[in-house]
Symmetry: C2
Subunit: 350 residues, 2 copies
Amino acid sequence: MLAEHLELSQTTVSLVLNNSPSAKSIPQETRNRVLEAAERLNYRPNYFARSLRQNRSMSVGVLAPDLSEGYFTRVMSGVVQELTAAHYFYFTACHDWKRELIEKYPRMLVERAVDGFLLLNTSADHIAVPIPVVAISSHSPVANVTNIVLDHHLAVEQALTHLRSLGHRRIAFMRGPRAIPDSEFRWKAIQQVAREMNHKLDPALVIRIDSAGWSMKTGYHPMAPEIGYRPMQALLEKTRDFTAVFCFNDIAAIGAIRALKDAGLTVPGDVSVVGFDDIQSAAYSTPSLTTVRQPLLKMGKRGAQVLLERIANREKEFPSEIVMAPELVIRESTGPALPDANNARDLGKH
Amino acid sequence: MLAEHLELSQTTVSLVLNNSPSAKSIPQETRNRVLEAAERLNYRPNYFARSLRQNRSMSVGVLAPDLSEGYFTRVMSGVVQELTAAHYFYFTACHDWKRELIEKYPRMLVERAVDGFLLLNTSADHIAVPIPVVAISSHSPVANVTNIVLDHHLAVEQALTHLRSLGHRRIAFMRGPRAIPDSEFRWKAIQQVAREMNHKLDPALVIRIDSAGWSMKTGYHPMAPEIGYRPMQALLEKTRDFTAVFCFNDIAAIGAIRALKDAGLTVPGDVSVVGFDDIQSAAYSTPSLTTVRQPLLKMGKRGAQVLLERIANREKEFPSEIVMAPELVIRESTGPALPDANNARDLGKH
DNA sequence: AGCAGTTGCAAAATCGATTCACTAGCCGGA
DNA sequence: TCCGGCTAGTGAATCGATTTTGCAACTGCT
């Protein structure tokens, strides 16, 4: 503010520059003088001083497992659109699925005085902060947290309806890693929808991404199709009595397809594969993936919007859950079931 | 600090908590009293007040084109390791190759009082900020900027030596997008190494990622193999008189491979393909990619280290360039050249 | 003229730390 | 005794804004 000492008091300058309502008594001519001087001297208010007084940082913390391409990028691109429009910036912290970091980073960011918190794919259960929180793809009914979730029931319904209408009855299901909040939720939806559709769920056809000594904590990389390759390989060793598989996400689907090919099966000829998310490469892999698209961009935007509203109005009540609709994208990896083709081959081996 | 008014003066408390050297005259017993009270009351110094006084924010700005999986993730994971160890956080800003944003974001972040700047894959040319800057994969000799670069001469040498030792002589080269600083640098290296190795560069076999009305500004997505598919397709329409192609990056290589397959050629049977970067999926695509690995993690770590040093010591002189060594990773996408095989087929068409 | 209400601005408090300048008390040596 | 130096702190300035309070001058109304 020193620069302005040439003319008026700090008060006046502050009122004018912030276009404060109580500055209505200041005549246009004085305003112009101030604005012109600020422009000329390239005046920028000190961020710390302002934040100290107003007690807000105009920034939020984003807590995510990692910076993976598929999920993170897409969601963040929606988030950033909203934040930028509101003149907000964000700190990113990746917890790498480590419990210790999941608890430490929120504390550190609160000390950094972030105005709010955005959780991506991370359970809000163990996060206790005195600021607004919005969790995307988490399902914890925690007080003061708004969850932005996908309608998994609808998602599963779309996938299953598609597969069954192609004649598939023996369908394998791939469950997600325990650490990802959606995993359990998706599985519950699968069970319920199967019941509703009178579809028989065979426990022998259920595989897990993080089974058998393989978990997020040991060398998990979200972009590694390995997460789908291994469980599919394991399944194929036990049985080939299925004509379709519903994968936990697109990366896993790509890995599963490779495992199927390596086992001498064709996709979608012998086995149809459905992915989840619709990441960019889903359209580009061979065969291109039929997949349940999550409106990730929209989820990011909505999440950021709600967070900003919560920040602006800390008293108001906000919904604890906002549900978004998925959309089935049909591409090359699904096709009609060859009736009992696999079954026959399987029997032929005996 | 109010809480501490129970006992001592602000000064004392501050000295003790910061373990300041001038606190040597404070007896251990008093120290303990202060520390114990701070612990008990869960005291956290106000970030703004402290930053205002000390005039540093303990955070840096990261300017990148986008949040793509391949490059960004890998580099940032190195960066974050160093920043976290030094108790720094970072703001991310993605300029999406828009000149306007490339100039705007640095200004905004300087107003946010970041202590330094990290540029990823972004030219430092148009960035004028009064704080330390480290640019990773930029080659602009700008004052006060340290560039962390790859040894492109060595990189090209490794790739070319590999291909030539497999018998390849007719090699196509894919140039990168103009907007990416490495593109021009890589191309210069290719020209020079070719000269040194007596390798004939045929202009008819040089293709560009952003040729023909396709640039970063129109729908570019770093994860879209399309960036390699289109130029390869265009090349194949003109000639098939080549046995290998050296792609600008792995994503483009994956796209190029798909274009080759769609044209009825096999990889590496008919054409060998070399990528660049060694992103995660390079090892998982079919065929797995032979590629020049950039030590991205190390580049990120080194970049962050230098930036932190520059911040800690604003006067000292720092090198304007730090060069890192690449490493050729040989996988399935390259193989021996079939002597004149493609040539023959090409002639056969006439 | 007298009083209320508005206009146009300034002084000073405030936000919560860090840091500079000082001092009271005590001890030891000249 | 007197001075210097050490111990164990304290008081006040400072960082740079925002915000509260105050107040003189003017305007308008009766």
